[in-house]
Symmetry: C2
Subunit: 244 residues, 2 copies
């Protein structure tokens, strides 16, 4: 049980719902089919039907949509503890493509197992709804990013958010985190060109706020960066489980 | 039971999950506290704690975030059958503000009633997760709108999406729908100025695609508008319940 209790998903859900033994056993069944994917592997493509759900245990992934003009919009980055493709079991087809950004380890879960789990462990249903709602809240922030924030604010907000999420599953802290993203990933997420990303990162570094270099994000001035980003942790708030 | 079976929420959830008698009775309990709000009423504000959830029965609402510079980003419009503020019961505080755009009728539901319902009727939990995931899928499309689509494509996509949603709860059809939105609402949703919205609507009308006039959206060329918008109904797909 030790292995399961310390899985990133369990850790994440536990901050919202105090999980019972039944909940933990049901969650443990999600982790039976362990799979490995190499960096660059397309795990799911938009329009695919009968896709599996994955729970990311190690590594980073990225969800995106391709546009008719060949551009792509990155929707979000996934880190350990995140579901990959949860919507693909609720819709008939996947509305997104998913790519492994690093080598990853993930548990594959089939739709009936997830839906069946809700009947046996209804608190889990609430926890999964919460995780999905947090994803939606992130999307809201990304929408505000693209619609109303300046390029520098967007970047600051994304780096703060990634830091908070990683911290939440026990990877990284207030000093920074390891980050496999390239400037192209950041550009496709923030609606900027790679050259613009480069300029924005230089400005943030020169202002003494944050440094992104050699796969490592270092928060040089956490409070300053938070203020610049207008980063409100409300949608990431975890002052202990809401549902006991 | 007739009243409940025909509520917009029941209608919406039924397209995803074949609801049992227990599910229907549990849903019926959500509709006990009926409330009325006047157009312009702020039903929820960002940062508010202990907000209720509402299920919209009649009228339109709008969720948004205010920016430090006084601008606002509309996140989505809510129509009959939609939850208002579902995330506010899962987080400690609401991450959005909510305003009634027309006079509205809504059922007020308290958090324990919703969470308790999942234990009694687990299929409902799946249905609510689905509804929440559909909201998230819409957010993805809005993200693509702001990040990568032209002004004309954004508008076309929003109008197609509203049409599909309204059709889904039995309001409006392929010829069009009644629409209380002003050019200011459209501007705040699409990241455009009101003048730009005006110009875009004129272009769509002159191209014979869609006319928005006097509170009524008329699809003059449904297929043409769909093609221009790159509107894929995948995330709105309802070819019968997935969960029987």
């Amino acid at each position: 049980m030790t292995h399961i209790e310390s899985s990133p998903l369990t850790r994440k859900l536990s901050t919202f719902v105090a999980l019972s033994d039944v909940d933990l056993e049901t969650l443990a069944r999600f982790h039976r089919r362990r799979r490995t994917f190499l960096a660059g592997h397309e795990m799911m493509h938009e329009g695919q039907s009968n896709a599996s759900v994955y729970i990311l245990a190690e590594g980073w992934a990225c969800s995106y949509k391709m546009l008719p003009d060949g551009g792509r919009q990155v929707i979000n980055f996934q880190i350990p503890g995140d579901f990959l493709g949860l919507r693909s079991i609720l819709f008939r087809t996947s509305d997104l493509s998913l790519e492994a950004l690093t080598d990853i380890e993930a548990s594959e879960v089939f739709a009936p197992d997830i839906l069946g789990a809700f009947a046996e462990a209804p608190r889990l249903a609430t926890a999964v709804l919460w995780a999905s709602s947090r994803d939606e809240a992130m999307m809201v922030e990304h929408l505000v990013n693209l619609g109303r924030r300046s390029a520098v604010e967007r970047m600051a907000h994304l780096l703060m958010e990634l830091g908070a999420r990683l911290n939440h599953v026990g990877i990284g802290d207030r000093t920074g985190f390891s980050c496999p993203l390239t400037q192209y990933h950041l550009a496709d997420a923030l609606g900027l060109s790679a050259i613009h990303v480069n300029r924005v990162l230089r400005q943030l570094r020169e202002d003494g706020l944050v440094t992104f270099r050699q796969g490592k994000v270092t928060f040089n001035n956490f409070e300053g960066l938070q203020a610049l980003a207008g980063f409100d942790t409300g949608y990431m708030d975890h002052a202990g489980p809401l549902l006991r």
